[in-house]
Amino acid sequence: MRKLIFLAFLCLSIVGFGAIGLADGDRVLRVSFSWPTYIDPAVGSDYSSSASFVNLYDTLVYPDVDGSPLPHVARSWETSEDGLVWTFHLRDDVLFHDGTPLTAEDVKFSMDRITTIGEGYGFLFVGRVQKTEVVDDYTVRFHLSQPFGPFLTTLYRLYILNKDLVEANIKRPGPYGDMGDYGKEFLLTHDAGSGPYMVKEFRVEEELVMVKNPNYWLPLDPETPDEVRFIGTTEPATIRTMMARRELEISDQWQPQEAWQALDAIEGVDIASFYAGTEFYLMINTKKPPTDDVHFRRAMAWAMDYQTVVDHIFPGSIQARGPIPQNIPGADPNVFQFQRDLDKAREELKKSKYYDQLDQLEVEFHWIAEVPDEEKVALLFMANMAEIGINVKVVKVPWMSVVEEMAQLETSPHIVSVFDSSHYPEAGSLLESRYHSSSAPTWEQNEWLLDPTLDAMIEDALATVDRKERFAKYAEIQEYIVDLCPTIFLFEQVEKHAYQSAYVDWPTARGEVNPVMGYNMAARFIKVYPEKRQELLGG
């Protein structure tokens, strides 16, 4: 009998621990992410890393919801006439988390560090920023190697580090000469920022815990979270359970279709859907027969059933218009858009030099094995092309093999289906990374356009400092590309997150969508109401 009582007590105690956890009034924001997360601004560049930078660090300029730069740590700035010299005047009231002031020296250190390491977002500055000059404590000057119009928008990715703190934690010897490891080991689990949140705890592959910076130089609404947790899981059953138990405020974006429906059914949970600038392309090899013929490519573009893709395969997405997602500044809203029209497809096919050999030809379509829904697109494409007499062979290929295939023209398949997005919020980013000859041997271009005219147009646009003039040039380039039809611009991906609409006020869910990856997770704009959470929990 005594044993029974002991067992019952043990069970009750175990279950009783259910009460332990968050206190009722805790204003906490928990977001699920896929790992790895790097909090070192010179290392990470993925979604969760970018979201952590936005909370831990400050930048010279901050992206507005239309992607244009707003003053932030930089009060103002000016550019030389030739677009080679950019001078920034800094605020003098920005403090790092350890209380030391942020100065031009810190900005120079951060730029030198990211260009020396070359990882993360370093590619935005390597080869472009020739030198960083400290004019005085609160003035910094960048000297560029060539004029680069979108330079301001790339500065959204220059997160300013506390030079003294990083230098004090450098480990020597290291791969960066006198700078040892450049503080990489320290910054793996610590921050050196001035942002609205600071690292409280970082458990690799598990969780990043941040707390509010009480001395932040901008006013923080008292309803913004006191603690932010980035949790490293995307497992649908776990996410669903955590959302239902109010243990998660915002979900990751990687949930399968059926999981969104289940999450939406939970009381007080809604799905925030927005277009965050990712497009799904069917990249056509323009150097390999028969897809080297523009009429053949156009015939395929006319025959494709876009509506089925956006209605049934990737519901919520919209048909893409040209190479640039429409929410990216510089996208041309008037560029020509193909629609399914079999008569026009057959008409174009007749103009093709391969028209008489269709039965002997086969187009190979490679889809990425890690994204199962891509198979549906591949099979739909095969069926659509069969209607106009084009034979398609569908091949499932792991991502790593696709990357290897696309590294050489000889091994690049006829068509590869790939998602891609811009590196900085301007059309020029995608135009360069997708269609400039320099990107041909990368996974971002299976088209192998190798078109000197197009290269010159892109280079000219990127060198244009005046925003309006530059955007006009982007529009011309988009028309030029669509006319070549090197790609089937299939759809713009919808980004979805489940969130606790009953007690979380998330501007992004209200339509204030920032086009720069990670900035929608800036916790200083998100309000959490723990008392409403308690109501939902029945407390």
């Binding site: 560049s45 070359g118 239902a244 138990r245 243990e247």
Partner: protein, 342 residues
């Protein structure tokens, strides 16, 4: 003395096995398609940054030179740098292995205690409703993968009933005890942090039970079958005939020899827990070694993959030796056979 000699002989053989394993996994991980450094640094990293990292990791050298660097490092306790966690693989192992060991130990305990108990009861009462129930449970347990149990338990006890936590090793409000062994329960026990101990145990229930059920069903099936067979043997009848008390017959003359096959399987099942915990760790967001290993393979994190396979190999070797010792302890014929063969 004989035991020491046996262990020494097995350990010596194991060195050759592990050496072969290290060559195999080294080669296999390096012939997979894709450039691991490019994957780690991203497609847009400048080529010189990629090249720098290749040089740091000796990936620019021929395979046999890479293996030499890896092996000489490993012998000195340096398993290289992880491409994804960006820290020494040894640090990763120190952090993630105790989490999985803790989970596997608890799951192993559940597996052994309840598996043998259920099997013994079913064997003792064979062909009754008790036996039938255990048999049905065993079949279901053996054929159902542990991740299915994990999802079921998560939805039932985490989502619907809300009895147990669904993720992690500790609740948000509980400070983690200082890492002595890396096993939160043990560290909490050592430091006398009872709140953390209770909370850690409470977090352990669902993942450990999910992980244990398959093996538990297997042990129950094997124990039941052996007990049922042995029950009909003459020596049991003789013991009863001599008036040996039933309790002694059951525990000493029936259960002990019946546990020999169970012990053999139990050891291997326990070692398998470490490797098979991946999905359970994923579902319960358990920062363990198994999840780390699978992620390393998916990301082609070369040093991490080699280290994970080697650690699992070492665990299998140790468990096998232990199992042999236990079986020899349980079965005098094996001990005598070994002596005769000497």
């Amino acid at each position: 003395m004989k035991v020491l000699k046996f262990v020494a002989k097995r350990l010596l053989m194991s060195i050759f096995v592990l050496f072969g394993l290290s060559i195999l996994i080294f080669l296999v991980s390096r012939v997979l398609p894709g450039d691991p450094v490019r994957m780690a640094l991203g497609p847009r990293a400048p080529e010189w940054a990629v090249q720098n990292m290749r040089e740091q990791m000796h990936l620019d050298k021929p395979l046999y030179v890479q293996y030499y660097y890896w092996l000489s490092g490993a012998l000195h306790g340096d398993l290289g740098q992880s491409l994804f966690t960006r820290r020494p693989v040894m640090d990763d192992i120190k952090e993630f292995l105790p989490a999985t060991m803790e989970l596997a130990l608890f799951a192993g305990l559940i597996m052994a205690i309840f598996g043998i108990l259920l099997g013994a009861v079913a064997g003792r009462y064979s062909n009754t409703w008790v036996d039938n129930t255990v048999r049905i449970f065993s079949y279901v347990g053996v054929v159902t993968p542990s991740f299915v149990f994990a999802i079921l338990f998560l939805l039932l006890f985490g989502y619907l009933l809300r009895w147990f936590p669904t993720a992690g090793r500790l609740s948000a409000g509980i400070p983690r005890p200082p890492a002595i062994t890396g096993m939160v329960t043990l560290d909490a026990l050592i430091t006398g942090n009872w709140a953390a101990l209770g909370d850690a145990l409470w977090h352990m229930v669902l993942p450990a039970v999910s992980l244990a059920l398959g093996g538990m069903a297997q042990e129950a099936r094997i124990t039941r079958s052996t007990i049922s067979d042995n029950l009909r043997k003459d020596y049991i009848g003789a013991a009863r005939g001599f008036g040996v008390p039933e309790r002694l017959v059951m525990l000493k003359y029936l259960l002990k020899p019946s546990l020999i096959p169970t012990a053999s399987i139990l050891g291997l099942d326990f070692a398998s827990l470490l490797a098979n915990a991946f999905l359970v760790e994923l579902i319960f967001n358990w920062p363990g070694f198994s999840r780390y290993g699978i992620n390393a393979m998916l990301r082609k994190d070369l040093n991490a993959v080699s280290a994970v396979v080697m650690v699992l190999g070492i665990v299998f070797v140790i468990v096998n030796i232990l199992v042999d010792l236990v079986v020899a302890g349980l079965d005098p014929r094996i001990r005598l056979g070994a002596e005769r063969g000497k």
